[in-house]
């Protein structure tokens, strides 16, 4: 059963304090220039204690962001545990926030048990909020899409959902083109492909 976020000492973390910490850290986003670096670098307490719960909730989140993925996929939420990505520090907070919102909206903390439409509503609501909440959720949605569609943890498998077959084995040029290509070609105005 999910509980509201708690500090390491067991005291409930004030939501305002949590968001304030996030805001300070999120202000550092500007320093990152690569498209995949996100700035959230604050670790909430409490929720991190119950790994199984956090994992379930995050799986509920990921399958709402990319419906059609298997909830049992071993790589589904790995990006939330990967210290190379800033969201690793926030997985506990994110999970607790999702559960809290689940209580607020649907009277149950079990976010992961909610039907897809309700999980979607919760995430939409968070993205519609301003400031740091939106940043956190936008970052989480973004990284989840990247991790899943690009199959970043399994180069051999890629992402079957979108027919991305990952690393190529036994590549065949014939598979990548059509026979009788002249059917497709338009008239050319150069002799060698270089513009004049």
């Amino acid at each position: 059963m999910a509980t509201p976020p708690r500090s390491n000492t067991g005291a409930t973390v004030s939501r305002r304090a949590a968001l304030k910490s996030l805001a300070v850290l999120a202000a550092g986003v500007g320093a990152a220039c690569t498209p995949l670096r996100m700035a959230f670098r604050w670790a909430p307490g409490g929720f991190d204690d119950d790994q199984a719960l956090v994992d379930r909730v995050l799986r509920g989140f990921a399958t709402a962001v990319v419906p059609g993925l298997s909830v049992d996929d071993p790589n589904l939420v790995r990006h939330f545990y990967d210290d190379d990505y800033p969201l690793a520090k926030f997985r506990g907070y994110l999970a607790s926030d999702l559960c809290q919102e689940s209580v607020n909206r649907f009277g149950t903390p079990a976010f992961d048990q909610l039907p897809l439409a309700q999980r979607t509503k919760i995430i939409e609501g968070k993205l519609a909020k301003g400031g740091v909440t939106r940043r956190l959720y936008r970052g989480a949605v973004y990284l989840t899409q990247i991790a899943c569609y690009a199959g970043i943890y399994d180069p051999d498998r890629g992402c079957p959902l979108i027919d991305f077959d990952g690393r190529r084995r036994n590549t065949s040029v014939a598979d990548s083109t059509y026979p009788m290509p002249h059917r497709f070609l338009s008239h050319e105005i150069t002799s060698d492909g270089n513009p004049l």
């Binding site: 986003v29 990319v66 190529r168 990548s176």
Partner: protein, 537 residues
């Protein structure tokens, strides 16, 4: 700190660096190449993966609100990761003018002058036009669209031999088919005696004047000191003392180095970091209509093989298709089917529906155009830089009109448009229209006067004899085609000029090319012939 003396120090190891490194070494100069990125063995180090950790090790980016640029930091510069498109800039490019009607290229530099150097570049990279039987499906489908509308379309030229069509050009070719600089210029340069130092970043440049009668440039003084820091291990610091200094750190890297050195190089042009051209890159996407055959975003070389010059005369643009791998697509843009009002739109079920069609039914078009050089790299102190783009009404008009043309090509073929909203590194969308490119040039452009550029037509920095810029930074305008071959050809030309000026004997450049096949595979860091005992601290 160690001090190392050399005749020619080349900063960077990409397209602008390779010709001076090779030709000067062949002419008997002591040459050292300083590359801040890691060494790469093209036969063992590349991976077919979408793992951002791997990709970000080599590919870097810089974003402002209206412009973002991507470039490589690795041995070979962009050549290890590029899509191998190797095209000459159209003649029209060289007659671009600024808003006062003044030519943007220095007098005398045009396609005719560059053609012999393009020939050398073509030969070195073994550039060939793609055969019809090798054009990937997405390229054929794009060509069919142009054909349907009566527009011409060309098969593109590539630096590749024996392509296996695996579709991972942008993560480096694991088959060794790509003719990157790692398999021709750089190993040849090493063979000719050049040393390549990797993981070593040039931090600042300083002027010195020290006459020492040594090396082949006996009567030329040591003129520049370059302070470098190793990026790995104990962060070793090295001071290079050189007679000729050739900056080829790329459009961003070279400008950064000069901006960081401005206190020492007080007579530099005020144009350093300004006039960045970004090749007017505009993109549009759509789903193919049912009667069209499938494309394929993932199989076949990363660039789909076809480009249209149909609108080059009338609008100054070229159009091609693009095949972004999933990481490139999802990290760069939110895709949303035009007119689909369901929420959520850029994630959740509607987004998955669209992504499921991405591989076979999505067509992405890209236009490159001769947009004016309005980008600016500003030094904010310390290590901080800002990339800005001055937005003007003509530029907005260009963007709108070009997008409209791309949409019209897609719509007249019966496609359904896909809205592409470009996003920042944290997933937020850009507030205004946004250009993103890896074909940025011009931050230290060649010009006829110091008031208008950083170096002269010979690539020599105004007021600084022996200091050259030979990379994308020197190219004054957008090219309307991919940039690498022009950078390479121009670097060959600049090097030819250096050799003519400082030659100590030797043959003309064109006679010294060796076919790539005969070369040793792996460039390695070599010993210096010119290492001196540590001087100073």
């Amino acid at each position: 700190m160690r001090t190392i003396k050399t005749d020619a120090l080349v900063i960077g190891s990409g397209f602008g660096a390779a010709p001076p490194a090779l030709r000067l070494a062949q002419a008997g100069f002591r040459v050292i190449v300083v590359e801040q990125g890691p060494a790469i063995n093209p036969y063992t180090d590349f991976k077919q993966t979408q793992d951002p950790q791997y990709i970000l090790k080599y590919l870097k980016g810089m974003s402002g609100d209206r412009l973002s640029v991507t470039y490589a930091e690795a041995m070979g510069g962009g050549s290890g990761f590029y899509e191998m498109v190797s095209l000459r800039a159209p003649s029209k490019v060289f007659s671009q003018v600024d808003d006062r009607g003044r030519g943007l290229w220095p007098r005398g530099i045009d396609r005719v002058l560059l053609d012999p150097y393009y020939d050398i570049a073509d030969e070195m990279l073994r550039v060939e036009q793609i055969a019809p039987e090798l054009v990937p499906k997405s390229g054929l489908v794009f060509s069919l669209m142009m054909k349907n509308l009566g527009y011409s379309c060309e098969r593109v030229r590539y630096a590749v031999q024996g392509c296996l069509a695996s579709g991972f050009c942008v993560t480096g070719c694991v088959y060794g088919a790509k003719q990157s600089l790692l398999v021709n210029y750089l190993p040849q340069a090493v063979k000719a005696g050049a040393a390549i130092e990797t993981d070593l970043e040039a931090l600042t440049v300083q002027v010195v004047r020290r006459f020492v009668k040594d090396g082949p440039l006996n009567d030329i003084p040591y003129r520049y000191e370059v302070y470098c820091r190793r990026r790995t291990g104990r962060r070793e610091r090295i001071r290079f003392c050189t007679k000729l200094l050739i900056l080829a750190g790329g459009t961003i890297g070279t400008a950064k180095l000069l901006l960081q050195s401005r206190e020492n190089l007080t007579s530099l042009s005020t144009q350093v970091g300004r006039n960045i051209a970004f090749n007017g890159s505009v993109k549009a996407a759509a789903l193919l209509p049912d009667h069209f055959p499938d494309g394929d975003m993932f199989a076949g070389r990363s660039h789909p093989g076809m480009m249209s010059y149909h609108f080059l005369e009338s609008r100054g643009i070229t159009i091609s298709a693009a095949k972004p791998l999933p990481l490139q697509a999802v990290a760069a843009a939110r895709l949303r089917l035009d007119g689909d009002t369901r929420t959520p739109s850029f994630w959740g079920a509607p987004h998955v529906e669209l992504m499921r069609q991405y591989r076979r039914r999505m067509m992405v078009l890209v236009a490159f155009g001769m947009t004016p050089p309005l980008g600016v790299l500003e030094f904010r102190g310390g290590l901080a830089f800002d990339l800005q783009l001055k937005m003007t009404d003509p530029l907005r008009r260009y963007f709108r009109d070009t997008k409209r043309l791309l949409h019209s090509i897609l719509l007249r073929n019966g496609c359904r448009l896909v809205d592409t909203e470009f996003v920042k590194h944290d997933g937020a969308s850009y507030p205004d229209l946004h250009f993103s490119t890896s074909h940025h040039v011009g931050s230290c452009r060649m010009a006829d006067s110091k008031a208008r550029g950083v170096c002269n037509a010979a690539g020599e920095v105004f007021s600084y004899p022996g200091l050259y810029v030979s990379d994308g930074a020197a190219i004054p305008t957008s090219l309307a085609v991919n940039t690498s071959l022009t950078i390479l050809a121009n670097a060959e030309r600049i090097t030819d000029g250096i050799l003519r000026r400082y030659r100590t004997g030797g043959e003309p450049v064109s006679a010294r090319t060796e076919p790539a096949a005969s070369l040793s595979a792996t460039p390695e860091t070599t010993r210096y012939d010119s290492i001196e005992p540590a001087v100073g601290k």
